[in-house]
Every structure is written in structure tokens, then in C-alpha cells.
């Protein structure tokens, strides 16, 4: 396997800046890796035919003396929910097959401006609805740790791409855990920023009050470097927070020194007992807590009595917002059009198009959302769910009055088998039990690898949550625990992942 693809984005950026590697070489190495392994992994829906041109341009500009930021020339995989002018954007749906956006999402535009090389578009559950990437209209992505298992979802493609060394960096989106849960099952790092911290302009909307774009990487520092590029105020997103953010890469570097754990108060939620998690997931979680305690952190039991209502509230708010957002796929302005025989009205065409263009999970959630918003049910369902949101925010406020961060396992189980839960939507929804409260409250969350579950040898992640706007705290704490864990293992967790066949070792 080529050494270039094993480098972190931070290391690769330094070698690019020092002239030891060109962006063309770095990009080619990743394209070769994709060619070798993506037939099995299927992380990518599209590989960018313009990637080498973009790399050549960065190399030329650098040769001409232009100064760039720390990750210029580094390849980037982009979740297909983000629109791009140079590649199709489908959001994993047949209804948008071949769609070419006339504009770039803000996070994509900022990535290009920072010299990142758009490598391709990654697979996802259709319109980001799912926890396994099995609901992609283009077939599932496979977990690089075990091809029979799911890579998480909805951003399984982005997580699998970085886990399989097909890209050092990827962009994801997280509506109820779609960045953090895939990180958990693939042994990678994922961050959902504070709501409004990263622009949603050009992210094909699922649930507008919950969606947030964020980094998907192999290390906390790499996530910070990418967050620094994509974050900050964007006038094109009216929910974007107009404020100054600190450097998250600097926060990660500070955290890696380990000193930040001394005196840190870490909250553990008593309503999420170990009995609710797979044995190896709970054990890995406890090991991480013990390691943090050994470095001076204080573990404090806290109560979040309303978290148990989070999944229920989420599966009312999300379908309600999604049923509105997806109304635009009506066969008129873009996307698929299916015209029934005879002399159909535009309404007949819409109904036939949406029948043919949406998959089963999307139909299920649109119908559920239409029900939740209908007259007579609105107050009982949607109105009540919005009140639960308030109660969960109050739980967070009370918790953060006592502790600096909250820690939970990132998901209840390790990666399950492809097909195992596909016919049981309720079981699928429960995968997001620990990640959903952050989206409902707007607070940031990070998942970093905490080890392997003893019973199945599959990756486990630990999630940290911080108050809104305190993303930097997550980078400090995440990097501190990451450093301690990698030190105790002797090497990064991904070094223990199976070597993929086709890799030119």
C-alpha cells in the first residue's frame, strides 16, 4: 500500500508545503486506491474526472509562489448531499440521478478556495434517511472492517472512504447522527458542529432545523483543520451564526498535550446505563473513562431525564420537516419526470414521478410527516415534539451547569450485518439513541474511536457533547483522549483494520 494514502491530512499538508510530494501525486495515489478497493467498499457514487486537473492547478500556483493554508492540495471526498458544479449531486436518490448543480455548496466552495482537491461524491442513505447506507438508491456501502457489515449512515460512504484510506478527509452531514454513528462503526472521527456553525447552503435539506455539515476524518487534528476551512458565517444561510470561531486545529493541538484532562469534569448520563449497550461497547466506553480519570479527569453522574423521549420527538420533527423539504421534487424544475399514459395532469405526473423516484424509507418518512402535520394531529404530535425539544435543551443546560462535557457511547452496538435491520424501521431508528439529543438541542458532538469490542473485534466510538458554541472544547478533549488511547495501543486503531484485497502492498 502506498505510503501517501496512510498519511494524515496534517502530515500530507506539510509534505505538500515542503515540496516533498505534489498534489498530483497525492491525488493520483488516492485515485489508485479507489480503483483498487472501491469495487468492494462502494464508498463513492462518482469519482471526479477533474481531480487531477485541480491538483495540477494547485501545484502550479504553489510553484509560482502562492501561499496556501495547511491542507492545500489534500484530496477531499464529498458526501453526495452537498451540491457540486463539477460532478453530479444525487443525495443518494434516483429522483436526482445525473443532477448537475449550477452552484457549489458553500462548504464545497470554501474547500476549493483552500486548495482541497474534490476527489468524488460519497454514498449515503437516500436524502440522508437511514443509519446504514442500505437505503441508497445506488446500493449499499460496505464497512472496510467487514464487508458483510454496514458502515453506518447516512454518511456511510464518507466514513468508509476515510477508513479504507481512499481519502484522508471527507465532508458529511449530521441530522440525527449521520456523521457520528458512521465514525463509531468504522473506527474514524466525526464531528457535528454547533447548529449554525457551518453553512447549510447547498446541502440538500433533510430536516432544516436539525441538519449540520461537518468533518469526517481519521484524526481529531484533521477534523479541526477541515472545520477551520468550512466553518464560519455565511450570509447565504439565514441560520448561520454570525460570530468569530477559534481555530479548531489549534484546539486539537492543545488537547493532544494531554493537560486539558486535568480537572476536566466529564458527565455520564445515568439514564443511559451500560445495560442498554452491547457488552463490548459499554466496556470500551468504561475503559476510556478510566483512562481519562487516570489523567486527572473527574467522572460525574448526571441526569438527563428527557433524553428517552428524544428518538420519539426526532421521528416526528424530522419527517415533518422532510415532507416539506422534499416537496420540491415535483418533476417540474429538476430531477426525474415520469409521465403516465393518456392525458395526465401535472398532479398525475408528480405522483407517478415521486412513486418511481423515491425509495421505501423516503416514502415512509414523507407519509409519516404528512400525517404528523395533518389537522387534528398537529398539536398532539408535532407540537408535543417541539416541547420535548425544549425539555432536552433544559436537560443539557442543567448538565452543563455541573460538567464541562458529557460522554456517551456513540451508538448502542457495533456494525450490524447488511440486511439485518432493513425490514424493521423502528429498530433502525433506535441506532441514533445517543446522537439525536445533540441535534434536537443544537449542541456540538464528536465521536472518536475508543477501541474494539471484545466479542466481535469491531470498532467502538465514544461521543463527547459540549454546550452550543463550545466546539473547540470537543477538539481539546477529543484530541486528549485520542492521544492517550493511541499511546496505550501503540498505534492508531485503523492499523488493526483488515488489509483490503487489491491494495498494492
Amino acid at each position: 500500500m502506498s505510503d501517501i494514502i496512510r498519511l494524515t491530512a496534517a502530515e500530507l499538508g506539510e509534505k505538500l508545503a515542503a515540496g516533498e510530494i505534489s498534489s498530483v501525486e497525492a491525488t493520483q495515489a488516492h485515485l489508485d486506491r479507489i480503483a483498487a478497493v472501491d469495487g468492494d467498499v462502494h464508498a463513492f457514487l462518482h469519482v471526479n474526472e477533474h481531480a487531477l486537473d485541480a491538483a495540477r492547478e494547485i501545484d502550479a500556483r504553489r510553484a509560482a509562489g502562492e501561499q496556501f493554508g495547511p491542507i492545500a492540495g489534500v484530496p477531499l471526498a464529498i458526501k453526495d448531499v452537498l451540491v457540486t458544479t463539477d460532478q453530479p449531486s444525487t443525495s443518494g436518490s434516483k429522483i436526482l440521478e445525473g443532477y448537475m448543480s449550477p452552484f457549489d455548496a458553500t462548504v464545497v466552495a470554501r474547500s476549493r478556495a483552500a486548495g482541497l482537491i474534490a476527489l468524488g461524491k460519497t454514498n449515503m442513505d437516500e436524502f440522508a434517511m437511514g443509519s446504514s447506507t442500505e437505503h441508497s438508491a445506488y446500493g449499499p456501502t460496505r464497512n472496510p472492517w467487514d464487508f458483510d457489515r454496514i458502515p453506518g449512515g447516512s454518511g456511510g460512504g464518507s466514513a468508509a472512504a476515510v477508513a479504507a484510506f481512499e481519502a484522508p478527509l471527507a465532508l458529511g452531514s449530521d441530522t440525527g447522527g449521520s456523521i457520528r454513528q458512521p465514525a463509531h462503526v468504522t473506527g474514524t472521527v466525526g464531528i457535528k458542529p454547533t447548529y449554525g456553525g457551518v453553512s447549510r447552503y447547498g446541502a440538500i435539506a433533510l430536516a432544516s432545523s436539525l441538519d449540520q455539515v461537518g468533518p469526517v476524518t481519521r484524526t481529531v487534528l484533521d477534523a479541526g483543520l477541515l472545520h477551520d476551512v468550512i466553518g464560519g458565517h455565511d450570509p447565504k444561510d439565514s441560520t448561520s451564526l454570525d460570530e468569530q470561531w477559534p481555530s479548531f486545529a489549534a484546539a486539537a493541538r492543545e488537547g493532544a498535550s494531554g493537560q486539558v484532562l486535568k480537572g476536566l469534569k466529564v458527565g455520564v448520563i445515568k439514564e443511559l446505563p451500560d445495560s442498554g449497550f452491547q457488552t463490548g461497547v459499554a466496556a470500551s466506553f468504561r475503559e476510556s473513562l478510566a483512562l481519562m480519570e487516570a489523567q486527572g479527569a473527574e467522572i460525574v453522574e448526571i441526569s438527563a431525564p428527557h433524553f428517552e423521549y428524544g428518538v420519539a420527538a426526532y421521528y416526528l420533527i424530522l419527517p415533518a420537516e422532510a415532507s416539506s423539504n422534499l416537496a420540491k421534487f415535483d418533476s417540474v424544475r429538476f430531477g426525474l419526470r415520469v409521465t403516465p399514459d393518456g392525458t395526465p395532469t401535472v398532479e398525475d405526473v408528480m405522483s407517478a414521478t415521486r412513486e418511481a423516484g423515491f425509495g421505501p424509507e423516503v416514502k415512509r418518512r414523507i407519509i409519516l410527516g404528512t400525517y404528523a402535520l395533518s389537522a387534528g394531529y398537529y398539536d398532539a404530535y408535532y407540537g408535543s415534539a417541539q416541547k420535548v425539544r425544549t425539555l432536552i435543551q433544559r436537560d443539557f443546560d442543567a448538565a452543563f451547569a455541573q460538567v464541562d462535557v458529557i460522554a456517551t457511547p456513540s451508538a448502542p452496538t457495533t456494525a450490524f450485518k447488511i440486511g439485518e435491520k432493513i425490514d424493521d424501521p423502528l429498530q433502525m431508528y433506535l441506532n441514533d439513541l445517543t446522537t439525536i439529543p445533540a441535534n434536537l438541542a443544537g449542541v456540538p458532538g464528536i465521536s472518536i474511536p475508543s477501541g474494539l469490542a471484545a466479542e466481535d473485534g469491531l470498532p467502538v466510538g465514544i461521543q463527547f457533547l459540549a454546550p452550543a458554541r463550545e466546539d473547540a472544547r470537543l477538539y481539546r478533549v477529543g484530541a486528549a483522549l485520542e492521544a492517550a488511547l493511541v499511546d496505550s495501543w501503540g498505534a492508531p486503531l485503523l492499523d488493526r483494520a483488515p488489509v483490503l484485497e487489491g491494495g498494492n502492498r
Partner: protein, 100 residues
């Protein structure tokens, strides 16, 4: 609250959502939605009248931009993904059916 998800209701929701559903889809969705609604109805247990609703996680107010012409798409860009277009406009089938 007892949910009342029936095949007729699901069919009606399909009409409202502009999704033509097959009989198989209707029967499958009826069972699944019934189970889902039974589970999510628990939100009403704690949603008492004294609790305010939250529609947006980070409250913001009066988000305006300067009243200036911004970046806009050309008519060609707007129409580039249209399934059908004519004379610089989107073309669709009849808006009204014969019975309307």
C-alpha cells in the same frame, strides 16, 4: 392516544403527499406506521401546557441581508436541469383534468 392508521388513511396521505402508492405499499406502510406512531406518541406524556415549544435550536431574529442585487442564476442555468422546457420556461402537462 390510540393511533388509527388504516389503509384508507395511508392512501389519503399518499394523495396529500403526491406519492402514488401501490396496494402492497399501502398495506406495508399501514403496519409500519402503526408501530412507529405507537412508539412516538409518547412525546405527549411530557409535553405539558407549561412547556414552551422550540422550533429552532439556536434562537435568531431578524436575519436580513442588504437590499442589493446578489448573485443570480442565468435563465440557462435555471433551466439546465428541467425535465422539459420551452421559450425560457418550464413546460408541464395540463394543470387541470377534464373533470375539473
Amino acid at each position: 392516544m390510540v393511533s388509527e392508521i388504516t389503509p384508507d388513511l395511508v392512501r389519503h396521505l399518499g394523495v396529500l403527499a403526491r406519492i402514488k402508492l401501490t396496494d402492497d405499499e399501502v398495506s406495508q406502510l399501514t403496519g409500519q406506521l402503526d408501530a412507529i406512531v405507537d412508539n412516538i406518541a409518547k412525546v405527549s406524556e411530557v409535553a405539558t401546557p407549561d412547556v414552551a415549544a422550540t422550533s429552532h435550536p439556536i434562537p435568531l431574529s431578524n436575519v436580513f441581508r442588504p437590499d442589493e442585487v446578489g448573485q443570480t442564476l442565468t435563465p440557462e442555468q435555471v433551466l439546465q436541469n428541467a425535465p422539459d422546457a420551452a421559450d425560457g420556461r418550464f413546460r408541464v402537462t395540463a394543470i387541470l383534468g377534464e373533470e375539473q
